[in-house]
């Protein structure tokens, strides 16, 4: 069923929902920007930019609060049903997930200062590509939300496998590199955490997509429409 073209009889309800969609777009955009900023700061050892990302996280947290309050208020005052109810529940869950994305980006930014510039660690060359793939997932997830696009939501979940593959590849390469270059264990560990953070951000993009899918269709996304489970532990030497 397509989204309703009709307005609510109570116009204030529509304006609540429009405000909410705007806030979700903003928090999503800020999370995406934070990932991008953290990775740029890492690539250029740009401490000022890294600090900006860390400080910018407070705004994401504040947006999460604002979204939660608006959702609760709307449920209490408007008694939403059907699509409206599902959208509000999805917005509530999405705001929590995006707040986590922001935290991961902040965590990446905090590590920038801890990695000495100039150390050439070969496996780290894959990180920018992984970051691009992750950022694209986040972007697509919020596009899916904005457009009420269940197909795009499904595509995001399938696409998450790319990010997982990057992670597994970087993980193995970094471990091997650290064994042969013990002097890089410090930096290598930070890079490992950064890769892990990106992988988690990708997972959260799929969480957002699952909520979009639920809001649009009223169904939970079928297991088989999700990517592989990247969280399953793999042997370190696999």
């Amino acid at each position: 069923m397509n989204p309703s073209q009709n307005e609510h009889t109570i116009k204030a309800f529509d304006s609540d929902l429009i405000t909410l969609r705007g806030l979700i777009a903003e928090i999503g955009g800020r999370a995406e920007k934070a990932v991008e900023g953290a990775m740029t700061a890492l690539a250029n050892h740009d401490l000022a930019l890294a600090r900006q990302v860390v400080e910018g996280d407070a705004r994401i947290d504040a947006l999460e609060d604002q979204i939660d309050r608006l959702v609760i208020q709307t449920i209490a005052l408007r008694a939403p049903m059907a699509d409206d109810l599902r959208e509000l529940v999805a917005a509530l869950k999405i705001s929590g997930v995006v707040e986590r994305m922001g935290d991961y980006a902040k965590n990446i930014a905090k590590r920038v200062a801890l990695i000495e510039p100039g150390q050439y660690i070969e496996p780290a060359t894959l990180l920018p590509a992984m970051a691009d793939a992750t950022r694209q997932l986040v972007d697509d997830a919020f596009t899916a939300f904005a457009r009420r696009d269940a197909d795009l939501a499904v595509a995001v979940c399938a696409q998450d496998k790319t990010v997982d593959d990057f992670y597994n590849s970087i993980f193995r390469a970094l471990i091997a590199h650290m064994i042969s270059h013990p002097e890089h264990v410090g930096a290598g560990t930070h890079l490992l955490f950064i890769a892990k953070n990106l992988e988690r951000i990708g997972d959260h993009a799929t969480n957002v997509s699952e909520m979009v899918y639920f809001a649009v269709t009223g169904q939970s996304m079928n297991e088989r429409e999700r990517g592989d489970d990247a969280l399953a532990p793999r042997p370190a030497n696999a």
């Binding site: 069923m1 009889t9 008694a79 049903m81 059907a82 699509d83 009223g218």
Partner: protein, 261 residues
Amino acid sequence: MLDKMAPTGTSHKMSARDVRVFYGDKEAIKGVSIDIDMDNVVAFIGPSGCGKSTFLRAFNRMNDTIPSARVQGDITLDGENIYSNAMDVVQLRARVGMVFQKPNPFPKSIYDNVAYGPRIHGLAPNKTDLDQIVENSLIRAGLWNEVKDRLSESGTALSGGQQQRLCIARAIAVDPEVILMDEPCSALDPIATAKIEELIHALRGRYAIVIVTHNMQQAARVSQKTAFFHLGTIVEYGDTSNIFTNPREERTRDYITGRYG
């Protein structure tokens, strides 16, 4: 009793098949079919004029009292066509009781309001039996504790919510199988409404209950099945939990989300 089963061979308490109700030339209900079972409370929702009350009244032939009204199609109670000539309408309305929007107690004592039905139907051979029926009915209607010491006072002296529960006790007193409720809470405050809703929960299973309501939250709260009526037809009939979270039809969705044109 196989010969009394509905043509479909089902064991629904009541079934409507291709029911049409006319007011003069105007077709208010346009071929509606539905099954009512003992274990569910069924809610009829829909905008004003959609036909839900008209359809409800077809279940105990209340439309007979409107001269211009005509009913076509079949409605069965335990497989028996209630519109057949063999059907005793007084008996039918005892088996299929009704509670109206505005509480309408008789201008008699509380006791007599409840005893009225059992008396005319000869259900109580003696005063002790009648006392017992009155007490049980008032207990089931959740009113006993509030009125047991003043049964001889007038029913019309009660509060609106109490009057409505008195009307439910009156309907229960003749031991019906089905209770039809036509917006039973629309004249009541939220507390009295909550008491009626709680009562509906308590009565579920003992009687088949059909409730017409304008209040969608009420339909969501009290019913297990919901039928959405629009322009004399049922647009969607299904589990209440699905209708209110994930309706299949756009018209249902637009109505319950408050987008109805």
